[in-house]
Each structure stands twice: as structure tokens, then as C-alpha cells.
Amino acid sequence: MMTKRKRDWLDDLFDYEAKHPIAFASPSALAEARLIAKLDKARRPRRRTQRNGTVHFHRRRNGAAA
């Protein structure tokens, strides 16, 4: 007959993890990463004109056939 294993520390840990999502960030690392993301966004060229179709329109008119 198989004996049932007694619950232990690892079982408790696994249960805890199942109930609480593991997604942790150190506050200072998070602040730095958000700043980097902001700087990155500011540095990236704006794509507004492409998104509203203007560029494609001009490309078509000014010789996309070329």
C-alpha cells in the first residue's frame, strides 16, 4: 500500500505561488526602467504621418510606379 507523503515546506511554497502571482520588481529598478522606456519613446521618430495614411498617399501620387 502506498503511504501518503506528509505536506512540507515545498508544498506550502507551491501553494503560496499558486495563489499569489510571482511578478516582482525592485522599486528603484522599476523607476529606472520606466525612465529608460520614456527616453526611448521620446527618441523614436514620430510615426503619426505614416499611421494616418498621408505618406502612402504621397508615395502613390509621386511615383510609386517608378
Binding site: 507523503r5 512540507d8 515546506w9 515545498l10 506550502d12 511554497l13 507551491f14 503560496y16 505561488e17 499558486a18 499569489h20 502571482p21 510571482i22 511578478a23 516582482f24 520588481a25 525592485s26 522599486p27 528603484s28 529598478a29 522599476l30 529606472e32 526602467a33 520606466r34 529608460i36 522606456a37 526611448d40
Partner: protein
């Protein structure tokens, strides 16, 4: 050093998971977590950890393997290095990455844990995969040991402090956790002892000794 392995419970069985240094393509893959799991902390942290990795990569301060890290330290023993560790499993084909840890090696050779995240909703055979978070900490302790690092530390928050409390059995973790060598050894021994009750001898020998 052997690869970093830990075991998780998936569909009622204990299965091995490998923790590896992320290369650029893996960091890009981790960044995409946010698209698949929007509005989750894990998704946001994955994207931000990736951003941070790319930022430091441009400065040449990231490493993508054990060897690179060893070489970087050999070149300059005061070097500050960042790296992303990604957990993946052959049996979990649905996901290329199950969890991540963004870490830094400080100028005085300590290991800092900045981000720890388990991919939301990871499952196997329609059952959740259990034990990824604690397994990641176990592997970090193994990594620190392999590099002779005397301390692992990190800032905590209200939500992460109870987790570190439970994993490390350190009394009252407040806004900082510090795992010194002795505590690291104790934690690894305890984790292995509990695994011994769940894995057969061959599996243990193959991955942990």
C-alpha cells in the same frame, strides 16, 4: 559549470526546467509577453526588464552566458554587469519562456535581483505549472555559489516581501532581502532535501550533483 536546472510540478509530475542566460533574441521574446498577457504586472515587468537589458547592452554592460560573465569579470574585477535569466522547458513546448529573472553583478561581486516574474497562465496539460518562483530563487543561489558570490540581495515591496519570507525563511523581510552565504547554503540544502522526497535517485544525480 553544469546548466542551471530546477524542478517544477506540472500535471502531477516533477519535471525539469532549465534556466539560461538570455541572448538578444530571447530578450526580444520575453519583451513580447506583454502583447500576449496585457494588463498584467508580469507582462509589464518583462517589457521593462527587456528595455533595461537593451539599454545596458548598448553600453556593453550585459552578458549572455556563463563564459561571457566569467571573461568580463576576469577583464575587470570591478565590472558591473546585467543579465536576464530565462526559464524554459523542452516538455513545455507551448511556451519558449516560463519565467524570468533580471539580475546584476555589482562592482563588489554581489548578485542583485531586480525583476522576477513568472509568465501568467503557464500550464501543462491544462494544469498550472507550480514552483517556478521558488525554483528560480534556488537556481540563483546555485549561480551565486558557482561564481563565489557572497551575497544575493534585492529591494522588496509589500507584495514580494511575504514570498521572500517564505522561500528564504528569513524572519520579517522588510523592504530589502539579503541572502548571505550561510543562508544561501541552508536554503539550497533544504530545497534539495525536499526534492529528494519527490524525485528518484537517477533524476537527482543527473541534475543536482
Amino acid at each position: 559549470m553544469k546548466t542551471l536546472i530546477f524542478h517544477v510540478e506540472a500535471a502531477g509530475e516533477f519535471r525539469p526546467v532549465e534556466l539560461m542566460f538570455a541572448t538578444e533574441s530571447e530578450v526580444r521574446r520575453v519583451r513580447a509577453w506583454r502583447k500576449r498577457t496585457p494588463a498584467t504586472d508580469a507582462g509589464e515587468f518583462a517589457a521593462l526588464a527587456a528595455k533595461r537589458w537593451f539599454y545596458y547592452a548598448r553600453e556593453g554592460s550585459t552578458v549572455s552566458s556563463f563564459e561571457e560573465m566569467r571573461a568580463a569579470i576576469k577583464r575587470n574585477e570591478r565590472s558591473q554587469l546585467a543579465f536576464l535569466l530565462v526559464a524554459s522547458a523542452e516538455w513545455g513546448k507551448r511556451y519558449k519562456s516560463l519565467a524570468l529573472a533580471y539580475c546584476r553583478r555589482t562592482w563588489c561581486h554581489h548578485l542583485v535581483l531586480d525583476f522576477l516574474a513568472v509568465r501568467p497562465g503557464v500550464s501543462f496539460a491544462n494544469q498550472p505549472i507550480r514552483g517556478l518562483g521558488s525554483g528560480m530563487i534556488f537556481s540563483l543561489a546555485n549561480l551565486a555559489d558557482a561564481f563565489g558570490m557572497k551575497k544575493i540581495w534585492g529591494e522588496t515591496t509589500m507584495s514580494s516581501a511575504p514570498f521572500y519570507d517564505k522561500v528564504l525563511r528569513i524572519r520579517s523581510v522588510l523592504d530589502l532581502f539579503i541572502i548571505r552565504q550561510k543562508a544561501m547554503r541552508r536554503f539550497r540544502e533544504r530545497y534539495l532535501a525536499k526534492l529528494k522526497r519527490r524525485l528518484d535517485e537517477t533524476e537527482l544525480q543527473m541534475h543536482y550533483y
